[in-house]
């Protein structure tokens, strides 16, 4: 049994009489110890999917209209608030995009970490354990830092504190929603290095949401690419980077600027993401797709296994020109 199994999840946001579907029929699984990356532009539904795992979307306006989210076998969407409180932090922990805004400004960071311990591991809710956690995430002088307020720490340190808080209850799954987007590049690398290191040491599963394709080669076991509320490609990281199949994934890979090969004009994807209230009826990427044909705008394609474990939502993936080689670093 996988640690997390999302089946046909459909999430809508109430807008007037109708609902805007932000996540449409998303299915994915995460095994124990596995790292899954979810990639996609803003608004593609990746954060909505991630927040749904602990039923964290404010409702209203959010509404779960279908599907199930099985965490250790139990459907999260059917849980009452007590059960939810137990799995939040206890089984699935979150690290968010803006560490500065995600820490309570009027509570000392040590106190905030201790609260997570009190909620899920009351026997370990001691100052020593807080210090140990701060050490684990690489914060120097942890005894002193525990007494600090969030604003006294740098962005990178704040994100380390968020990580310590998320790891305190020893969760099975860590959901990191663009954990490095708000940080500068050198700090990004440090935080990712830390994530990878922690994963090895603690053996938890990670769901990493990112806009940055360059990261996935380093850390992901599998990758799900989302577009307009759907998963359009789901594959082992190596396979996806080596041979992206969906025209959208290929365009994403192509638009990553390269260090080698001289200066080029930055490749972009023409057009823009369709609005939730104006979804194309057929394939959602068709209006922007370089290989679109008339059939694409009528029949909606399904996510099908094209090669071993490599799923793609495009029947014509095999009929496009070869990709420029070495667009991305492929891990050995």
């Amino acid at each position: 049994m996988p640690l997390l199994e999302i089946k046909n999840l459909k999430v809508e946001f109430v807008a007037g009489q109708s609902g805007l579907r932000a996540v449409d029929d998303v299915s994915l699984t995460i095994e124990a110890g596995e790292t899954l990356c979810v990639v996609g532009e803003s608004g593609c539904g990746k954060s909505v999917t991630a927040l749904s795992i602990a039923k964290l979307l404010p409702s209203p306006p959010a509404r779960y209209v279908g599907g199930e989210i099985r965490l250790n076998g139990t459907d999260v969407l059917q849980m009452n608030s007590r059960e939810l409180q137990q799995i939040r932090g206890g089984v699935v922990s979150y690290v968010f995009q803006e560490p500065g805004a995600s820490l309570n400004p009027v509570i000392r960071v040590g106190r905030q970490i201790k609260e997570a311990l009190q909620l899920h591991r009351p026997e370990a809710a001691t100052d020593d354990e807080v210090v140990r956690l701060l050490q684990l995430v690489g914060i120097p002088a942890p005894e002193t830092r525990a007494q600090d307020y969030p604003h006294q720490l740098s962005g990178g340190m704040q994100q380390r504190v968020m990580l310590a808080m998320a790891l305190a209850p020893q969760p099975k799954l860590l959901v990191a929603d663009e954990p490095t987007t708000a940080l500068d590049v050198t700090i990004q690398a440090q935080i990712l290095e830390l994530l990878r290191d922690l994963k090895q040491r603690l053996g938890m599963s990670i769901l990493l949401i990112t806009l940055n394709l360059g990261l996935i080669g380093d850390i992901a076991d599998r990758v799900a690419v989302m577009y307009a509320g759907q998963i359009i490609e789901l594959a082992p990281a190596r396979s996806l980077l080596k041979r992206p199949m969906h025209p959208y994934t290929r365009a994403l890979v192509n638009s990553v600027p390269k260090l080698a090969g001289g200066a080029q004009r930055l490749t972009t994807i023409r057009g823009s993401v369709p609005r939730l209230d104006a979804m194309p009826s057929g394939c959602r990427f068709a209006p922007r797709c370089p290989i679109a044909r008339p059939e694409c705008s009528t029949g909606a394609p399904v996510l099908a296994e094209a090669e071993a474990k490599h799923h793609v939502r495009c029947p014509y993936w095999n009929e496009q020109p070869a990709l420029r080689p070495q667009s991305l670093e492929i891990p050995a």
Binding site: R88, G89, E98, A101, S102, P105, V106, A116, H120, Y149
Partner: protein, 307 residues
């Protein structure tokens, strides 16, 4: 920190001095012969003359202002024209009544407004939220003298639960404090509501939920302290105004507080007493502002590092 405090104290003194001068000049613009008020309508010209000489009433305004300020510099607020009682003593006798009334009222309205604000923000758009909004609008539009009279009529006269007027222990404060609390609850409930709505949308509240904290903990421990920070400034101003004397409520309930003292001394043209009451008011504003500043450093750790 210390230079900042000294700086604040210096400007506080300037504020008080300016207030004293302005009010002194204003009182002298008011028509009416103080000597007549003191001696009564049938006093002989000789008596009037005596009074004028005694209180320097026949000298020019700027000279009288000088005498007053010199007296103030010695820490002397003077004596009442009417009762001859030292002004300082009269004020000290009445200040505790007003302070106790204000404190009781503040505690009452904050204890009710905070949960109301939190719960209406949590359930915004519900019937409960709308009901509180309507009640709040009504409460802050009520005229205080009317409300005081109504409460007095029903709860003291008809039901006999509270003393009708005067001071007989803490129970006499309850009805006047309730009057004040009702006038302020609505405003503060809405103020806390709108701050809470903003705070509840913030990432750290989502993070607190993601941790597995219970909803009451999220609301009252994570969100409320942040939502209350901006309220402190306004609360400080209101408390300062109340400490200066609660005019209508004290008069309706015949509480011997500063408000009643101020009203009486204005009717009597009792210049030293008016000046005393005004200076106490101004001191209250200045002090409370200072306290609010210090309080901010305590409730909002971000401010401590800003200086």
């Amino acid at each position: 920190m210390w230079t900042r405090l000294l700086n604040r104290l210096f400007w506080s003194v300037v504020t008080l001095l300016t207030t004293a001068v302005l009010v002194f000049l204003l009182i002298n613009v008011v028509p009416g012969d103080v000597a007549h008020v003191i001696a009564g309508p049938k006093a002989s010209p000789e008596v009037l003359q005596q009074i004028r000489e005694r209180y320097h009433l026949d000298e020019p305004v700027w000279k009288r202002l000088g005498y007053y300020l010199a007296q103030l510099a010695h820490g002397d607020l003077g004596h009442s024209f009417v009762t001859e009682e030292p002004v300082a003593q009269a004020i000290l006798r009445r200040l505790p009544v007003t302070a106790a009334l204000a404190a009781t009222a503040v505690v009452m309205w904050m204890l009710i407004a905070m949960p109301l604000g939190v719960l209406t923000a949590k359930h915004r758009g519900s019937w409960f939220d709308r009901g509180v909004l309507v009640a709040a609008t009504v409460s802050l539009s009520l005229p205080s003298f009317w409300l005081a009279r109504m409460l007095q009529y029903w709860f003291s006269y008809k039901l006999g639960w509270f003393p009708v007027a005067g001071v007989r222990g803490f129970t006499s404060l309850l009805l006047p404090a309730t009057t004040l609390a009702i006038l302020f609850i609505g405003y503060y409930a809405r103020l806390i509501h709108s701050n809470m709505v903003e705070v509840l949308d913030s990432p750290y509240v989502r993070a607190a939920r993601a941790k597995g904290a219970a909803e009451t903990t999220v609301l009252f421990k994570h969100a409320l302290p942040n939502a209350v920070i901006p309220v402190i400034t306004i609360l400080g101003l209101d408390v300062a105004v109340l400490l200066g004397g609660v005019l209508f409520t004290e008069n309706v309930f015949a509480l011997p507080g500063l408000g009643k003292l101020a009203v009486e001394s204005v009717f009597n043209l009792d210049v030293p007493m008016i000046m005393g009451a005004v200076l106490v008011s101004a001191t209250a504003v200045v002090t409370v502002n200072l306290v609010v500043d210090l309080l901010y450093r305590w409730v909002d750790p971000r401010i401590k590092d800003a200086y």
